[in-house]
């Protein structure tokens, strides 16, 4: 294994631990928004898609990348907006009480 890969593994493992720590003890009310919000974050694949769709060629690699850009963008935009819509409902109700 080369050095870059080792470094990438460090990042992966540490980020996983961070995720466990940050998201522990979430109240059940927020389970759905947490899921759809983190779902939107997993649309980060859009970055990988942008990189592979980057070259100014028209080969299969770029075309697949562009399809991935569209799918991941739907994931990102849809995920964040729908989470906001849900949380807005929660907010409205708290003000009323």
């Amino acid at each position: 294994m080369n050095e870059a890969l080792i470094a990438a593994f460090f990042v992966f493992v540490l980020a996983s631990f961070t995720g466990f720590e940050v998201i522990n003890k979430v109240p059940p009310t927020l389970h759905t928004p947490l899921m759809s919000g983190s779902n939107a974050v997993s649309g980060i694949a859009v970055i990988g898609a942008l990189i592979v769709a980057g070259p100014r060629d028209t080969n299969l690699s770029v075309i697949l990348g562009l399809i991935a850009v569209i799918l991941a963008t739907v994931n990102v935009v849809g995920g964040f907006l729908v989470t906001d819509r849900m949380l807005q409902m929660f907010k409205k109700k708290e003000v009323k009480v």
């Binding site: 998201i23 859009v46 849809g78 109700k93």
Partner: protein, 466 residues
């Protein structure tokens, strides 16, 4: 791919990663959740803008078009979707994320193949993992979507020799992968490996029934994160690895919470095909001559209206009938009569984590009236009437008393301890677990048969006349 990206881009990625972590942290508390979502969204925007500045990215027109199309579809879907359809929406989005990760890996493979350079072992392993996890997430999520949307049967789909067939396909996948590690540039084997991954995703979700969906949706959510992280290894990008790992971890936590709420291991959810095997037991047990007390809406309204305290227990039936607004109205009317109204929420009620909370929030049920299982269970003994709306297994006392029951040991809402229970149900069919429910045959349980929405609307009308 070990290009040195300009420092500015890396610093922006660092800021974006921090925003993701802080955003997820804030999503964990009701007061800051909305802000947390916004922070995560800003992090995403920064990450995308930074990537567009990368000197490898030159294909601006087409990329802009792709981003525009994706944004349009995403925005329309987010505003059009009904709150009752939320589980499908989350399932669908998970699938798209998984598909994107797999496509990134396939595109990278094609790129490496075309460049005639040797594909290193590291890159090869990353690509195979990314295609596998992304592919399974993609097809698995779409099967989950189809089940939730009612496009295919929501009950477990089983066929003879299911486990051996699955095992054979998995072995096929492993053989293909092993071959690719030795001979990386074999396109047919790569395509075969991809097809097997997609097929495994379908077969992995198809035997899982509707009631286990909260576990499956959380697990797919986790997988979509892991898929993004593996895609990060493919293109060697820390941003992808960090965000993917965060989502993978959070999805895993939710999966564990859901499993615990059903007292089942993840393995038994994935490979148990509940319902199917349990049905035989239930049919035998239901043989006795047990009778139920059926009442009409007028009597139900009298019981509710003259009670001091009522606990409403919503379940998937309420979601299917879209009865949440009628239920809120009933709650309001009862409060006008001086009845104390509470809602009891079981962690796995519905088809995804927190499903009932979202629906009741949409109907403007005040937050303090919603109670968790641990919180409400000790209160049932002082409750005059427990009103069960379209819930079944989560209120089945057999989980507490009958060690032979398939759901034995699952934490339940102890509705049978209330002075009276009214159960709104379409018919006498068993719940998702295929188990007969003793609660329905108890002396103090009254059954109100019909669609949740109609019955609750009738109850509202009757209560108004009291």
């Amino acid at each position: 791919m070990s290009e040195f990206l300009p420092t500015g881009i890396q610093v922006t990625y660092l800021v974006a990663s921090s925003l993701f972590i802080l955003g997820l942290k804030k999503l964990g508390s009701p007061a800051t959740a909305r802000q947390g979502n916004l922070w995560a969204a800003i992090g995403m925007l920064l990450a995308i803008v930074a990537t567009l500045l990368d000197r490898q990215v030159l294909n601006y027109e087409l990329i802009a078009l792709g981003l525009l199309i994706g944004t349009g579809i995403g925005a329309i879907a987010a505003y059009k979707v009904a709150m009752t359809d939320m589980p499908q929406m989350v399932g669908l989005l998970n699938g798209l994320g998984g598909a994107a990760s797999a496509l990134v890996a396939i595109a990278e493979f094609w790129h490496l193949l075309g460049s005639h350079s040797t594909i290193s072992l590291d890159a090869n392993i990353s690509i195979i993992l990314s295609v596998f996890i992304g592919g399974v997430t993609f097809t698995g999520s779409f099967v989950a979507f189809a089940k939730l949307q009612g496009l295919i049967s929501g009950s477990p789909v089983t066929f003879p020799l299911q486990q051996p067939v699955n095992a054979l396909l998995l072995i096929g996948f492993l053989v293909c992968s092993g071959y690719l590690l030795v001979v990386p540039d074999n396109l047919p084997v790569f395509l075969g490996m991809t097809a097997l991954s997609l097929l495994l995703g379908i077969l992995f979700v198809i035997p899982i029934g509707g009631g286990d969906m909260p576990v499956v949706i959380s697990l797919l959510n986790s997988l979509s994160g892991v898929a993004a992280a593996t895609a990060g290894f493919v293109v060697m990008n820390n941003m992808l690895i960090i965000a993917g790992a965060l989502v993978g971890a959070s999805g895993l936590i939710l999966t564990e919470i859901m499993c615990k709420a059903m007292n089942r291991s993840l393995a038994s959810v994935l490979f148990g095909a509940f319902g199917g095997s349990a049905a035989g037991v239930a049919a035998g047990a239901a043989g006795g001559d047990k009778s139920v007390h059926s009442i009409d809406a007028e009597e139900g309204a009298m019981m509710l209206g003259y009670a001091r305290s009522v606990v409403i227990v919503p379940g998937y039936g309420m979601a299917v009938a879209q009865a949440q607004h009628a239920v809120r109205e009933l709650g309001d009317q009862l409060e006008k009569l001086g009845v104390e109204v509470k809602y009891a929420i079981h962690p796995v009620a519905g088809r995804m984590p927190g499903h009932m909370n979202v629906l009741l929030a949409e109907a403007n049920v005040p937050y303090p009236q919603l109670h968790d299982m641990e919180d409400i269970n000790p209160q049932f003994e002082q409750t005059d009437v427990a009103l069960v709306i379209g819930a079944n297994d989560v209120v089945n006392p057999a989980a507490r008393s009958d060690s032979s029951s398939p759901i034995y040991g699952m934490p339940i809402l102890e509705v049978d301890k209330a002075k009276h229970a009214i159960v709104i149900k379409r018919g006498m069919s068993a719940g998702f677990a295929g188990v007969d429910n003793d609660l329905f045959y108890k002396e103090k349980t009254m059954m109100l048969f019909g669609s949740a929405k109609d019955i609750v609307a009738k109850l509202v009308a009757e209560v108004k006349q009291l």
